[in-house]
């Protein structure tokens, strides 16, 4: 099938890209330079490629595995990757909490995890530990044993709900 132009808003920037249908959103995002979206399995088993996806007409964004979305399915969508939440100079509370709580070791799972955590906190600003675990059960981490990650999400939740610092 001939390539068509797909329009997406990624981290606040508009993109128009011509491509054939058989390309996943993960591949497209990385080809566009969003290498903060990681590839771990391409099957939805690991969560490393998680992004926030808001399809046209949807009320809010959802955390999804970008390896299981065709780019054509994301036409007109708003997409947020971990780099879209903040920068090293102006980090999101989740960035700071992860960096400060020992939640990052090799860092390969961190982008997807932070996205899953953001999706959780957007819906549930005061999650219990159980709710945190449920929200990130699709994000595999091989390094940390998850303890510091849960601490980091709680720390970020406290900071965000108290209205203090960091990019939204």
């Amino acid at each position: 099938m001939k390539p068509e132009v797909i329009t997406m808003n990624i981290n606040g920037r508009a993109h128009h890209i011509a491509l054939e249908p058989n390309v996943t959103l993960l591949t497209t995002l990385r080809d566009l330079g969003y290498t903060d979206v990681k590839c771990g399995c391409e099957k939805g088993d690991c969560g490393a490629c998680a992004i926030l996806l808001r399809l046209p007409g949807a009320d809010s964004a959802e955390a999804v595995n970008s390896c299981l979305v065709l780019t054509w399915q994301a036409d007109g969508a708003d997409i947020t990757t971990v780099a879209g939440l903040g920068t090293a100079e102006q980090p999101h509370p989740l960035h700071s909490a992860f960096a400060d709580t020992g939640a990052i070791q090799c860092g390969y799972c961190s982008p997807g995890l932070i996205i899953a955590a953001k999706a959780l906190l957007d819906r549930n600003p005061h999650p219990t530990e159980q709710e945190i675990r449920e929200a990130i059960e699709g994000n595999l981490c091989r390094c940390t044993g998850y303890g510091h990650i849960i601490d980091a999400i709680r720390t970020a939740a406290d900071k965000m709900s108290s209205g203090k610092g960091g990019a939204r």
Partner: protein, 294 residues
């Protein structure tokens, strides 16, 4: 890399059905893609055409329609998990939804996709069988309803015709004097394919005796099965330990499991009895405590 395909993007349900009629049998509907994209990547399927049904508003929504609960086929597993109507009138389905995959997958996977993919281990199938669900199959010219039990025929095989969409699933609102539940064994505590699963719904009469029972097992046969011998053993009986034990022992008769990487046939046969006994015991506890569902 995915094989090449044409991608059809209907804006409405009637457009979608017209496209299916025109392009059948070369076109496969794509909803969440959590199975189909994986299968295409692994080289197990290469449809010539995919049709995106993920944006069709008509396929979304959960509503109560007189005495029925109706769930649009495009409803995601996350939506099932969150919706109050499912909590109230479809508890085993809600329990299964919480144990299916993981949240990232649930945000995309749909109930129609789970049923139409027809994995023997599909987690939404036994609950819907226990609820006595039927599927609405729509094509351009007609709509038909099939009991779910008849719809799934074999491993990855259903009666869905190439020009049809699984538009919705519906079941009768469970009787106030009933309780239901879902139980799953997986090899880890989250994001695990079922080694075996089960769902059951029991209705009882004014005397507390079982007047209707539906018991379904998954990952125990090429398709999800009703454990009819076990159901029959409950009829007219109180949900006591001895009755539950006897019924559970009959569950294995419904199973035709295989050995695979997740478990042996022998283990599955043995667990059919264990998980059904536990499920029925939970249901009995719900009955005793006066709650409608477990």
């Amino acid at each position: 890399m995915l094989p090449k395909f044409d991608f059809l993007r209907p804006n409405t349900l009637s457009e979608a059905l017209a496209m299916l009629a025109e392009h059948a049998p070369d076109v496969v509907p794509l909803a969440g893609g959590t199975n189909l994209i994986v299968e295409m990547r692994d080289g197990h399927r290469s449809p010539k055409k995919l049709m995106d049904v993920g944006r069709l508003r008509e396929l979304r929504g959960i509503r109560r329609d007189d005495g029925h609960l109706v769930v649009g086929g495009g409803t995601t597993i996350s939506e099932l998990l969150a919706h109050p109507l499912i909590a109230e009138h479809g508890l085993p389905l809600r329990q299964a939804a919480g144990l299916l995959g993981n949240p990232l997958v649930r945000n995309r996977a749909t109930v129609a996709g789970n049923l139409a993919n027809a994995s023997p281990a599909a987690d939404t199938a036994p609950p819907l069988l226990a609820l006595g669900a039927e599927v609405e199959l729509m094509s351009k010219d007609k709509t038909r309803y099939l009991p779910l039990y008849e719809f799934v025929v074999d491993v990855n095989k259903t009666l869905l015709q190439p020009d049809e969409l699984l538009a919705s699933i519906r079941w009768q609102v469970p009787h106030p004097r009933s309780a239901a539940g879902f139980y799953k064994i997986g090899l880890r505590k989250a994001d695990a394919c079922s080694v075996i699963n089960a769902a059951a719904m029991v209705v009882w009469d004014e005397r507390g005796l079982c007047s209707q029972a539906r018991i379904a097992l998954g990952a125990a046969a090429p398709r999800p099965v009703r454990a009819r011998e076990a159901e029959a053993a409950l009829l007219g009986q109180p949900l006591e330990a001895g009755v539950i034990e006897a019924a559970s022992n009959l569950a294995v008769q419904a199973t035709h499991p295989i050995d695979d990487i997740r478990g042996t046939a022998a283990y599955r046969r043995r667990m059919a009895q264990v998980i059904l006994r536990r499920l029925l015991t939970q249901i009995a506890e719900s009955q005793a405590s006066g709650r409608q569902q477990s």
